[in-house]
């Protein structure tokens, strides 16, 4: 089955260039001209690799990269300009797998795409899920929206990031230090109280009974976890 590649660039001439070459190699191609469109396209069909332009100010390539990484392991190759070292570093830090520098030759592009696809772990389905459910809790990662049953839940930015720690580690006990470092940063590593308050608030918003939580459960002395749901 042929691989499908999503090209994200707000310059139509680059879309044409990339698409024409990728098709000759037998890849299927999907295109998007801005970040929102990119996330929508990504969510409705299986994508094996994303080619993402980060140069243009109108298209927030880094934002797209970051949001994608919140819920997917799909290989991402960023297109950047030579000399813009901050761009390359930033892209890689945000989770891009490789970069391609403009101007590039068509053969270089194709070789890079082949290499990244070769390196990618075989099942991209597992990282692909746009939606997450846990009992009555439902999350749309692409839109960063959370529902409890039919009711939308409004979470602060920090609460959402905290929740994602649990949804990406279902069944795994996360220590306070892990959570504090991942969500707030290493300076907050021992700031237990702020974690307590945030978990308390999250429970208020997500649980039907905050005192008997089902989504975020405490394991005394060990940490917190989101228990796996029975199938």
């Amino acid at each position: 089955m042929s691989k499908r590649i999503l090209i994200v660039d707000d310059e139509p001439r680059y879309l044409r260039l990339l698409e024409a070459n990728l098709r000759t190699e037998g890849y299927e191609v999907a295109t998007a001209q801005d970040g929102v469109q990119a996330l929508d396209v990504f969510s409705v069909q299986p994508i094996d690799l994303v080619l993402l332009d980060v140069m243009m100010p109108r298209l927030d390539g880094f934002g797209v990269c970051q949001r994608l990484r919140e819920f997917s392991n799909v290989p991402i190759v960023i297109l950047t300009a030579r000399g813009e070292e901050q761009d390359r570093v930033r892209g890689l830090d945000l989770g891009a797998d490789d970069y391609l520098v403009k101007p590039f030759s068509a053969t270089e592009l194709l070789a890079r795409v082949r290499a990244v696809l070769r390196r990618a772990q075989a099942p991209t389905e597992s990282g692909q899920a746009r939606f997450f459910t846990h009992d009555d809790l439902k999350i749309d990662f692409a839109r960063a929206e959370v529902w409890r049953g039919e009711e939308p839940v409004s979470l602060s930015a920090t609460e959402y990031r905290l929740l994602l720690q649990f949804t990406h580690n279902v069944g795994k006990i996360l220590t306070s230090e892990d959570l504090l470092t991942s969500v707030w940063g290493v300076e907050y590593k021992n700031d237990k109280e702020i974690l307590w308050v945030s978990i308390a608030r999250l429970r208020q918003k997500l649980e039907s009974d905050a005192h008997s939580p089902r989504h975020i459960v405490t394991r005394s002395g060990l940490g917190y976890l989101m228990p796996p749901t029975e199938v």
């Binding site: 310059e11 139509p12 001439r13 680059y14 260039l17 024409a20 070459n21 000759t24 109108r58 300009a81 030579r82 000399g83 403009k102 101007p103 590039f104 030759s105 068509a106 053969t107 270089e108 592009l109 409004s154 979470l155 602060s156 930015a157 920090t158 700031d191 109280e193 702020i194 974690l195 307590w196 308050v197 945030s198 978990i199 308390a200 608030r201 429970r203 208020q204 005192h211 405490t218």
Partner: protein
């Protein structure tokens, strides 16, 4: 105030201010004053200016609440009440509670915080058990609320300054001619490289129409590159003032008509109306002023292709005012101040042929003549460029 209290406050103030990190400073503040004001938990909530959601930014358990962890009380309810009512709120537990209920009904004291002059935060103290809060306690707690506000403001100012430094550095980089050049030149280069290497690929063939398409793109982009380089050199010469102007008496009306006629031969569809008074000559570089007109015509053809162009010239005391107007779609007001900046292109205008230097060069030329150029525009009505050039009284 007695001396003992004053020197205690003085010492506390020094210790708190010495802590550069705002959370460490808050810790010091609350711990220092805990002798006079007892609490078990404290939390600070701030409203996010954009989302209006409240975030807990600071939380401490210093007393008996420690053991209860995440189930403990953090005063979110009272914080929300404080945020909506904008005033201090005190909630005391009902009398005669059993020990077991101690954790669920606590003494809650909440203060609004005015960070940056707006009421957008709450500081909540929670105490389990113990006597009621007296007026003195409330005063001390209120003092801490003011202090906390100052500390948060200090942090936000520090953050803002770091952000500003970073932005300034970025802007300096962007203003760096060299880095902008490389960015601007790379776009057409990227296409030329990309499309030519596509055609050169040995592992595939392209059908005839695709080959022509790619070759046309390469051709167009090469032209664009040439124009860009020409403009950049000109711009660099203007910048370093090595561009020599040759001043002599010039009749601007004749100049403008010449340029119009020249352009008309290439673009017969263009319609230009002249509304010109009798004007004296001015002292200027005819070739450069002609360049300004050429650029204005070129822009009008690009951005207002179907429009008539109306050129007016008036003598006003010591200068000549030239207006160059079209009836095109106009330019949004927000973008007008930036139009004459180097490499500026109106967002949304995806013209592959623009270099972003034309108006910048025009401005440099006009200013070299001790004149002025600016633009007025109304969406859907049109755009007018206004040039003023001083009259030479000796001519």
């Amino acid at each position: 105030m007695d001396l003992a209290t004053l020197s205690f406050l003085h010492k506390t103030f020094q210790e708190v201010q010495r802590k550069q990190d705002w959370r460490a400073a808050l810790d010091t503040l609350f711990v220092s004053l805990r002798g006079s004001f007892v609490f078990d938990n404290a939390a600070i909530y701030l409203e996010d200016s954009q989302t209006k959601a409240s975030e807990v930014v600071y939380a401490r358990a210093v007393g008996r609440g420690k053991a209860a962890e995440a189930d403990s009380m953090w005063g979110e309810g009272i914080a929300n009440e404080v945020l909506s009512k904008g005033k201090m709120i005190l909630k005391e537990p009902r009398k005669g509670l059993s020990y077991a209920n101690r954790l669920t009904e606590a003494h809650l004291l909440g203060f609004p915080l005015y960070v940056g002059g707006n009421m957008n935060g709450a500081l909540v103290f929670i105490r389990f058990g113990g006597p009621q809060y007296t007026e003195l306690h409330i005063q001390i707690a209120s003092l801490q609320a003011f202090w906390a506000t100052a500390l948060i403001e200090r942090k936000e100012l520090q953050d803002a300054r770091t952000e500003l430094d970073s932005v300034q550095r970025q802007m300096r980089l962007q203003d760096d001619f060299v880095s902008t050049i490389s960015h601007e030149l790379r776009t057409p280069l990227g296409f030329i490289k990309g499309y030519s290497t596509s055609l050169l690929r040995q592992d595939t063939t392209w059908d005839d129409s695709t080959q022509r398409e790619f070759l046309n793109i390469i051709d167009e982009e090469a032209d664009r590159l040439a124009r860009l380089i020409e403009n950049m050199l000109e711009s660099a010469r203007l910048q370093s003032q090595t561009l020599q102007f040759k001043f002599s008496p010039v009749r601007i009306d004749a100049l403008a008509r010449d340029v119009a006629m020249r352009i008309h031969t290439h673009h017969p569809e263009m319609k230009v109306n002249f509304d010109v008074e009798t004007l004296p000559s001015i002292r200027g570089d005819g070739m450069r002023i002609a360049q300004v007109f050429e650029n204005l015509f070129s822009n009008a053809l690009k951005y207002a292709p179907a429009s008539e162009i109306n050129i007016g010239m008036r003598l006003m005391s010591d200068k000549i005012r030239v207006t160059f107007a079209d009836n095109g779609e106009g330019i949004p007001e927000d973008y007008l101040p930036f139009l004459f900046e180097r490499f500026y292109r109106v967002p949304g205008e995806r013209t592959v042929t623009g270099t972003g230097l034309g108006l910048y060069i025009c401005k440099q030329i006009v200013m070299a003549h001790h004149g002025n150029i600016w633009v007025e525009s109304v969406l859907d009505k049109g755009t007018t460029f206004i040039i003023e050039l001083p009259v030479d009284p000796t001519l």
